[in-house]
Subunit: 337 residues, 2 copies
């Protein structure tokens, strides 16, 4: 592997001059510039990025923290983030926490050890005070979760309002006994959604049912199980806010196989407008988030913070959501896909 020194010698010039050519800096006359370019070509020289990083104190790399990339919501978000970062010349390291607070902290160490210039967190599984410790090592931007105490920029949709809209919709369709599902009440998102759900329930004075299982709804399988448990314990529930298209799909799948009519006997609302929600039969009413726009904005903010250094004060970017009404809550009519 040739080094810059080899190139300099081969061109009969100094390292400094070669470095100037590599970095497109001025103060190199054309003739020498050509000689350097030629020497680089002859030797097949490529600058060593570890050396550059060390001297310039930049890695041009960011880390993205997420629970699991197989969740379509996150994979769409990462896809857009990577694309945007790549446009800016940044690499992306993916960090799956698998919902573990310890893994989250382990990955945050990347910031302290200067393996990345900045970090995006799409989920948070530690107290903010613990995460704040890492802020002096580099910028962190949150995308998706809204942490009250966080003193860094955040991007999110109004989860409370979204849940309120979805719940109101269920009520307007005639549901009288609702259930609220979530992936666990320890996340800020589930808490906000619950507030929105409760607001609608109280405002319209409809009843609702609670159950231990209801806060463990994370995937298709748990959706199926919850349907079964509802059938046995309280079959009078006629509307469910699931907080996840996959959970909704599981419920619908199981309902169809058990002769329960959707939406007549049971209306179901999902979340995220994933591919599956359009394809299920009946198709799933769901809340759409502008995930690509959110992802792009997030990367832009982070890179901007990286490049102008210094501490940055919190700014909130709240994106709009949309309730996509489909046949899992409304009688079949001509609804365009």
């Amino acid at each position: 592997m040739p080094t810059i020194e080899d190139v300099a010698r081969h061109a009969g010039l100094s390292r400094t001059t070669v470095s100037r050519v590599i970095n497109d800096q001025p103060y190199v006359c054309d003739e020498k510039r050509q000689r350097v370019v030629g020497a680089m070509r002859d030797l097949g020289y490529v600058p060593n990025s570890s050396a550059r990083r060390l001297r310039s104190q930049k890695t041009e790399t960011i880390a993205i923290l997420l629970p699991r990339i197989t969740n379509p919501f996150f994979s769409h978000m990462i896809e857009a983030m990577e694309k945007k970062a790549s446009e800016w010349g940044y690499q992306v390291i993916i960090c799956q926490t698998h919902y573990s607070s310890q893994k989250e902290l382990d990955y945050l160490e990347l910031l302290r050890t200067k393996q990345v210039d900045g970090m995006i967190m799409t989920s948070v599984h530690n107290e903010w005070s613990a995460i704040e410790e890492y802020l002096p090592s580099g910028p962190i931007v949150l995308c998706n979760e809204n942490i009250e105490e966080a003193n860094t920029s955040i991007i999110y949709i109004d989860q409370q309002e979204a849940a309120y809209d979805a719940t109101t919709h269920l009520i307007e369709q005639g549901c009288e006994k609702l259930a609220f599902l979530s992936g666990g009440m320890d996340s800020s998102i589930a808490l906000s959604r619950r507030r929105g759900f409760m607001k609608a329930v109280q405002q319209y004075n409809v009843s609702f049912v609670e159950h231990d299982d209801f806060n463990q709804a994370v995937d298709v399988e748990s959706g199926r199980e919850i349907f079964q448990s509802i059938q046995q314990e309280d079959a009078t529930i006629d509307g469910i806010f699931t907080g996840s298209d996959e959970v909704a799909a599981g419920i619908i799948y199981e309902a169809m196989n058990n002769g329960v009519s959707i939406p007549d006997d049971l209306a179901v609302v999902g979340f995220d407008n994933q591919t599956i929600s359009k394809l299920m039969n009946p198709s799933i009413t769901t809340v759409e988030q502008p995930v690509v726009e959110m992802a792009e904005k997030c990367v832009e903010i982070l890179i901007q913070q990286i490049e102008q250094r210094g501490r940055h004060k919190r700014e909130d970017y709240i994106f709009p959501h949309t309730l996509k009404k489909r046949t899992s809550t409304t009688k079949p009519m001509a609804i365009p896909m």
Copy 2:
């Protein structure tokens, strides 16, 4: 940010000794070891990874090349790869080529510039001769695509056999006029599958139809379009090998909306056994790949090659596939999920 020098001074020892403690090396007596540990704690010292990389010529990072992470097949593969790599202490950089051969080459530069120790390619969009150029810079392992000429280790399933099995299954179900779909005939995978399809078609002497659109089948939307074009141009087709669960889902969705009965009028086979294939109604017959096992094996091989340096000769790891028979090809009966 304290450096190793600061720690050394604070502990009244040399950089060398501190370095030994950091790296758990012998030849440091217990008392001094404690003093170093204490100094590191006092100063909040963290070793700078750029400096380590430069000196030790290792990055502990690998890159994974893939078309798009939103494709569930790839997101499941990456999820498993990242998890495995993380267990070995390696970071993962994700590189989405978006089917561009140029982006593929750009990302391969990571290997030459020593930003990563090795690379996994799950798709290949350049001539092998072009990729081979990068091999001297670090190991590359292929996962998913089987390139004949490749002189590096490869992991894959027998795509030809898989397509043959699926096609045979369609024929056994009584299909007499088949269609073969793919995402483009420039990939080794599509070519292998086509061979398998043709083998079955010829062996059983059934007819098949070709059309320009048929090799542009990449997602739900194109599945829908292809269904429409089939309806108009050749409605006698009664069996389709799609090579993708999403394409199959698009076809089924559109068929249901147009009163075409699946599987009676039209049988459809997907590929990859994605979540959606179980949930569609009818559920989709599909080919399952042991994607997690393939991913883990791939990471293990790569890291092993990284750690023992030197050039490695090609080894092929062929994993088994399974045809999951569901209702998109068979009459509805009690088929367990």
